[in-house]
Structure formats: C-alpha cells, structure tokens
C-alpha cells in the first residue's frame, strides 16, 4: 500500500467543503471490517473502496451462486462457485489499487470474532441472520467498537449506528437495547425465504457506506442511536431515536469468557436446543416429585393443561415473578417449544447455575398429540 493517497483519484471528494485533505487522510488511515459480502456488503464495499478507506477486511465463507447476482453487484456470472470474499477483494482492488484488503474465509464465531474484530476501527454488519447479528453486536460492545448496522426485509431496509458515543457523556445503545430477545430465525423472513428487490440492499448498503464515511471524517449527522427505516415501494422513511435499556436482566454476555461460551444458534433458535427434554423423558420425570413445571404462555392461550400440575407465569412477567419458581429443576412449557427457549435464557440469567432449567420439546401441542394418541 502507498504511504499516502493520490490527490487526482479523490479530486472531487477533496473539493468538498468540510472534507478536504484532512477528511481524505482520515479515510486513508482507517480500518473497516465488513462482515458479510452479500447484498448489503457488495454495495457498501464498492463505495468504501472507491472513497479510499485505507484498509478493508471482508469476512465471508460463502461462495457465489446464480441467485446472488441480481443484487450482489461485485460478482459476475463467471464467479459462480468462487469464494465471495476473494472475488470481492479482487473487484475492490480493480476499483482502487491504493487500498489494502484482507479476507477472512471463515464463519464468524465466538472463537474467532475477538481476534478478527479487534484489528479494526469500525465494523459493518451486512449479515443475513439473527445469530450472527447478535454475535457481532455483543463482540462490538465488549471490544468497544462502533457498529454500522443494516438489515432488509422484502421492500424495507434499516440502518443505524450502534455502540458509538458522539460525546463522552452520551450513552451508547446496542442491538440488544432495541431487540433484547431475537425473533426466531424460523419465524423471520430473510432474502432466501421472502425474496428481495435487488436494488434495495444496494440503497441500504450505500447508506451504510455513507454513515461509515461520516463517522470516520466527522462530517454531517451520522445515524448514531437513530434507527432509519426506508420503504422502497413508496419512498417513505421513518426514523426512531433509540435509547439504552436497564442492564439488570440483560442476556448480553458480561465478558469475553461468557461470550465464548454463548450459543448464538441456540439463542436465535436456529439449532436444536441442548436444554430440551423429549416427551419420553418428560413422562419419566412426571413420575418423580423433585421438579416444577411452568407454563409460560399468556393467560388466555389454549389448550389448557389439565394432565399434570403446573404453575402459570406468562413469559412477559417471568422476571417480576421469579420468586414463584422454587424447585431446583424447572421444566418450561409453551405452545410449540419456541418461547420456552427464550424463557430458559431469561431464567438462566436470573438463576445462573443454581437451578436446572429445561424445556419440553415441541411444547404442549406435542404432549397433547402424543397423550391422546396413546391414551
């Protein structure tokens, strides 16, 4: 990499009021990590490279497929099957050979996130699933890195900046302040299940690049603690001011050790749970007395549980009613087994290792189905 930037290349940027050589120098000295080289990543990367960000890291272990090409504009048809991060880095070099690119051909995990992220000044989340979004958020909070966040859903997109203080006395907000608990990935729509108009990640990714450049150079008003939502169908936008939540019952890992131990796929319901028990084991457990069953469904939900004794504490009131839970072993029941996973996380954050908290696989629906089929 050259030790300074070429003035000719950035001539139109250098002419800008409040930008100039000082702004360009800041871009040149900055290190930005793009996690996910998909729809958002491609458009953000192209503009960041062109603008002269000195060092760009790209984390992506996926390969290019034909259905990516309508929105992931760094890839060509002949790239199908090639690694996205390699092709993206090569494309960026073509745009701007004066910058450095580093590629990480691996999935971001709790084992490698700290090492990768700590080398950068700014992190951009262009990923497409909740598990990685929570993982990136938590790592950025623990490492005190600014996070430029973007996400899309069909014709709408969001941009915001997390974990950044404009002034020392300001509070920083992170993803868990906005969504303390994740929507189950199986419930949420992503580009694979719901479709996306190719230009939308282009718009949102460009906004993410713009916010990154504003943060680095200090120009304008960046979307710090402001969630901007854009609708591509009617061009409407909506901006919400964010604020931090009380930290007492946060499921956020406290330090690097608890971060490393966190199972983000479980947290976001993308993998079978470790803390679930099967119907057979549950029926065996029913023969003993050393446990408590908690139905965490809301009050009016049916079917009612009449086959065994259980306490009713809706998920929304679990924290206030923790004193109602007395046994050492607690089985959580909900309708289908999904909400129980969240209840487990909430209760584990309260009781730590002092109680064994498990959930019934498939919830009361699975139980009733088996009970009335066999009985």
């Amino acid at each position: 990499m050259k030790s300074t930037f070429s003035k000719d290349r950035y001539e139109r940027q250098l002419m800008l009021k409040n930008f100039g050589e000082a702004g360009q120098q800041k871009l040149f000295e900055s290190k930005v990590l793009m996690i996910g080289a998909g729809g958002l990543g491609c458009s953000a990367l192209a503009y960041l490279a062109a603008a002269g960000i000195g060092t760009i890291g790209i984390v992506d272990h996926d390969t290019v497929s034909l259905s990516n090409l309508h929105r992931q504009i760094l890839y060509r048809t002949e790239d199908i099957g090639a690694f996205k991060s390699e092709r993206a880095a090569s494309f960026l070099k073509g745009i701007n050979p004066e910058i450095s690119t580093l590629i990480y051909l691996e999935k971001l995990t709790t084992s490698n996130a700290f090492d990768i992220i700590s080398d950068y000044d700014f992190v951009i989340d262009g990923t497409d699933n909740f598990a990685t979004k929570y993982l990136i958020n938590d790592a950025c909070v623990l490492l005190n890195k600014a996070l430029i966040f973007g996400a899309i859903s069909e014709y709408e997109g969001q941009v915001t900046i997390f974990n950044y203080k404009k002034n020392k006395q300001d509070e920083s907000v992170n993803y868990r302040d906005v969504f303390p608990l994740p929507t189950s990935q199986s419930t949420a729509l992503n580009c694979t299940t719901a479709g996306v108009l190719g230009v939308l990640p282009g718009i949102i990714g460009s906004m993410m690049a713009n916010e990154t450049i504003k943060l680095i150079t200090g120009i304008g008003e960046a979307l710090v603690n402001e969630l901007f939502t854009y609708n591509a169908l009617d061009n409407s936008s909506y901006q919400i001011s964010l604020k931090a939540r009380k930290k007492e019952h946060s499921t956020m890992p406290k330090d690097r050790k608890s971060f490393t131990e966190m199972d983000y796929d479980f947290f976001c319901n993308t993998q079978p749970a470790k803390d679930e028990i099967s119907l057979d084991k549950f029926n065996q457990l029913l023969l003993s007395n050393n446990f408590e069953i908690i139905d965490i469904r809301e009050k009016d939900e049916i079917p009612l549980i009449t086959e065994f004794v259980c306490k009713q504490i809706p998920l929304s009131t679990l924290i206030q009613n923790e004193s109602m839970i007395q046994a050492q072993t607690v089985v959580i029941i909900c309708q289908s087994g999904k909400r129980s996973r969240e209840a487990i996380l909430v209760l584990q954050s309260i009781f730590k290792d002092s109680k064994k908290i498990i959930s019934l696989e498939g919830g009361i629906m699975a139980y009733k189905k088996a009970f009335y089929k066999n009985g």
């Binding site: 497409d128 909740f130 899309i152 859903s153 069909e154 906005v178 992503n190 001011s241 809301e298």
Partner: protein, 76 residues
Amino acid sequence: MQFNIQIFGQLCEVIGKQLIVENISDTDTLIQTLNTKYPALVELKYLVAVDRNLVTENIPLTNKSSIAIMPAFSGG
C-alpha cells in the same frame, strides 16, 4: 382514546399496514392488547416507538401520541 398505529415489515402480514386501537392508556396495555388480538406477534419480536422514540419501559399514552411497531429485519 383512539390510536392509529403504524406497522412495519413482516408485522404487516399479520396485522395489515395500519391498525386502530382503542381504550389503551399505556404501552404495556398496548402490547398486551396486540398480542392477545394477534397471537402470531408473540413469536415475532417487535419494537414499540411512541413519538418516534424507542419504548424501553411502560409509558403512558396521550391522545397526541403517535405509535409505531416494527419487527427486527434479518436480511442482508
């Protein structure tokens, strides 16, 4: 009091683009009313904004409050 609630993202598939809700005095009652009327919302986590500010604890609503609810987006 009557509130015209603005709906975003995937929540529109459950509720529609707009919803009028009556007889609510605070945001906790709003959430309970919505979750009872639309049980699918319980699984879909969403944020509530009043006057374009994120709601992080129960707050009272006035007849001038503008309310929006928005799910998390996960596409990239």
